[in-house]
């Protein structure tokens, strides 16, 4: 039987959902009660900046994995043969482009902190393609696209850790069209930067250590020439209290996350309550890979 508070809570939730569904921007998402950020790239970069590597005294101390990164762009997905493709609700999307050499990666990051350790939800519409330098589909040119969080507990939390859940769509390697979701639970060793007293660096997107998500194969809508794209939906739920993945969905598929593990390491000196989100792209061939993000909604249950 509902108590009066339960009934009020149900009514509030029904009103919240009705308001979200009547809002054309929010209606395509399923946010938790508090929206932390809602990014549409016709309003600029919305805080998605270049992931720059750590350094001290000289930029030469930056690890090569980070040195290759470049600034994300606001793109209309302009194609040489068909003109601007545009986004879902505006002309613009965020574009993360790699350099044109096999294995090149690029990362865009949004840096926040959290105010409550509870469930958060990360939703986005995305698509990916190689640069259309050939009159071919190029479906095995992009090695992977994905996202990661970089999190750390609060300064008064017992046993706080730095936790980095990673998920990538492993599209292809060596011409094999693999099309499966993967996670990783290990990073490369830490390197001191400069004196090493304040700053360390590790390249957590190194190609080693990726593991298949159970039943994680998925064929996405890739379309039939290099300049036709379709937007896909992804949703990743993570609990900041337990530092544990709760669920992952891409388009019509919901994946079993019981075997998912994050990269975990001892808390670091200057990263308390860190709540960072990254998108990344990786090319498998000597051709630029492009990850486009139409919109992102990050929400929390607080």
């Amino acid at each position: 039987m509902l108590t009066r508070n339960d009934a009020n809570g149900d009514l509030a939730e029904a009103i919240r959902q009705a308001m979200n569904l009547s809002n054309p921007v929010l209606s395509r998402f399923d946010p938790l009660p508090r929206i932390i950020s809602l990014d549409e790239f016709s309003r600029g970069h919305c805080g998605w900046s270049q992931l720059v590597g750590n350094y001290e005294d000289t930029l030469d101390s930056m690890l090569p994995g980070y040195a290759q990164h470049t600034s994300a762009m606001l793109s209309t997905l302009p194609h040489w043969d068909a003109g601007s493709h545009g986004g879902m609700g505006s002309s613009y999307a965020l574009k993360i482009a790699t350099r044109p050499r096999p294995g090149a990666q690029n990362v865009a990051i949004k840096r926040l902190t959290f105010r409550k350790r509870g469930p958060i939800r990360f939703e986005a519409y995305f698509t990916f393609k190689p640069e259309a330098t050939e009159l071919k589909l190029g479906e095995t040119d992009v090695r992977s696209v994905g996202f990661l969080f970089d999190l750390q507990g609060g300064d008064r939390d017992n046993g706080a850790e730095r936790v980095m859940p990673h998920l990538r769509f492993f599209n292809a390697e060596g011409g094999r069209h693999l099309q499966k979701w993967q996670f990783k639970n290990e990073t490369t060793r830490f390197h001191p930067v400069g004196s090493g007293e304040k700053t360390l660096s590790h390249y957590h997107l190194a190609p080693e250590g990726w593991q298949d998500l159970p039943d994680g194969s998925q064929r996405l809508c890739y379309n039939e020439i290099a300049t036709k794209v379709n937007w896909s939906y992804l949703r990743f739920d993570f609990d900041l209290a337990e530092m544990k993945a709760l669920s992952f969905q891409c388009n019509d598929r919901v994946f079993d996350m019981s075997g998912f593990e994050s990269i975990r390491m001892p808390a670091m000196k200057n990263l308390w309550c860190m709540l960072n989100f990254c998108f990344f792209a990786e090319t498998d061939v000597a051709k630029r890979a492009f990850l486009y993000v139409d919109s992102v909604c990050i929400s929390g249950d607080f």
């Binding site: 600029g44 720059v52 930029l59 762009m73 606001l74 302009p78 040489w80 350099r99 640069e131």
Partner: protein, 111 residues
């Protein structure tokens, strides 16, 4: 709302030799761009002219017409001011054999 205004890093700590360019950058939303090239280390050999290049597709490039003298000393900067560039921008230059410059290239774009 204030007009969009973005600083983008087109190249950071890259040692340029021979034929050198920045990665293609899309900025069709911007009406104007100011591009700086700073030498992060002492350049070696003759400092060439750098060209602003534009493109219909990010793959085929043509000089826009603006040129700038590459820096001749550490922390020297070159600048180019550009308008009417369509969507794609890059900086390109050609070094003589043995010449080089380690650059920071930044674009300052305004709607």
């Amino acid at each position: 709302m204030l007009p969009e205004n973005i600083t983008a890093i087109l190249a950071r700590n890259e040692e340029w030799t021979g034929e050198a360019t920045t990665e293609p950058y899309e900025a069709g939303w911007a009406r104007e761009a100011v591009i700086f090239v700073r030498a992060l280390k002492q350049p070696v050999g003759p400092a060439p002219l750098a060209r602003i290049e534009i493109s219909p597709d990010g793959m085929h490039w043509i000089p826009e017409g603006t040129q700038m003298q590459m820096p001749t000393e550490k922390d020297g900067i070159a600048v180019a001011r550009i308008a009417h560039f369509g969507n794609w921008l890059r900086v390109s230059t050609s070094f003589e054999d043995g010449a080089s410059c380690t650059v920071l290239v930044t674009a300052h774009l305004k709607a």
